[in-house]
Symmetry: C2
Subunit: 204 residues, 2 copies
């Protein structure tokens, strides 16, 4: 079946956002990354700042502490806000996919849209050296080493994904293509994704 | 750096062997799948039948039973034969990689050659429907359902990989490309791999 929707999951600082934007621009379809935050804010009534902080990341990089925080939050009545965010995000992603061909970055979109036959699911990753260079170029130095920051981000994303899905983050079988942007480069990654889209369209 | 060696890891019945052969033929390089068994037999003195049975599969699909079997075998002096097989396989793969450009299928080659900069590591997988059709076409019916056979093979390969490496099998970050041959088709998978080889060669 023709693939109208491309979901791009990515390791932090792997260039996944840039690749996704290149693909959307060249295919002439809508691009949802930060724009999704605005849509979720409208839908949920939550602030964009709150959404930015919690939309893709667990509150703890430690899986046990995150699980504990979520269960404790449950007894205090907090989960409603996290649950509301995730549910709003789910509905927004489903609506977007119904509405128009597009590229959606992150937010468990690969999982949320897993049963649709018109999606191509992609994962972008890169080795530590490339990601360190990327984080320093785009976000500069902080007190933590770049390696610590990347590890923390990966763990939070992994815990978030595991909590909301029945899957492990970054496992090949969840995606139709997984590409190492460190080795292949952003340009080639974009070209390979477009090639897959065009080729599967010919077969449909 | 120019990629001289391509390792192709694959789920059973995903068409990974066929894709690997197509890539080797089109690039005009050596192809190591069954040929590797002959080389390992020469190197280790073990029979080809024994190697075929144990070279990529744990003796149990259950991880705990396999670990138990290996530790029990240790006390009985058995590990030497499994260890000899794995060590012979490792040396053969390292020798091949030193000797000539080639495509190597399975056998933890992605892990054994992980520190070489001249390798492209690929993982091929496919959804259950495609693999069931493949197993029935190539191996026919048996008493077990195709789904049971595939699950058993996957588990044995996963346990074997986990035992001999410090990694999990089928995790995106172990490979430069992971492709769903069920969706993309064998022909396109081969083309995408060749495209990656050609493009990285231009950059080197």
């Amino acid at each position: 079946m023709r693939k109208r929707i491309i979901t791009i999951s990515r390791e932090f600082a792997s260039g996944g956002h840039t690749i996704a934007k290149m693909v959307a621009d060249r295919l002439g379809v809508a691009f949802y990354d930060n724009k999704l935050i605005t849509e979720v804010a409208k839908s949920s009534g939550l602030s964009e700042d709150f959404i930015k902080e919690h939309e893709e990341y667990a509150s703890h990089s430690n899986s046990f502490l995150f699980q504990l925080a979520m269960s404790t939050a449950g007894t205090l009545g907090y989960p409603s806000v996290y649950q509301r965010l995730y549910e709003a995000q789910t509905h927004v992603i489903e609506d977007i996919a119904d509405k128009e061909p597009c590229v959606i970055v992150g937010r468990c979109a690969d999982y949320i849209l897993r049963d649709r036959a018109d999606c191509l699911h992609v994962f972008i990753h890169a080795d530590m050296d490339h990601r360190v260079a990327h984080i320093l170029e785009h976000y500069g130095q902080t007190e933590k080493t770049p390696e610590q920051r990347l590890k923390d981000k990966d763990n939070r994303r992994r815990n978030y994904y595991r909590f909301h899905t029945d899957r492990e983050w970054g496992v090949c079988t969840n995606y139709h293509m997984a590409l190492d942007s460190g080795l292949l480069g952003e340009e080639l990654c974009a070209q390979l994704i477009i090639r897959a889209i065009e080729d599967t369209a010919k077969k449909s």
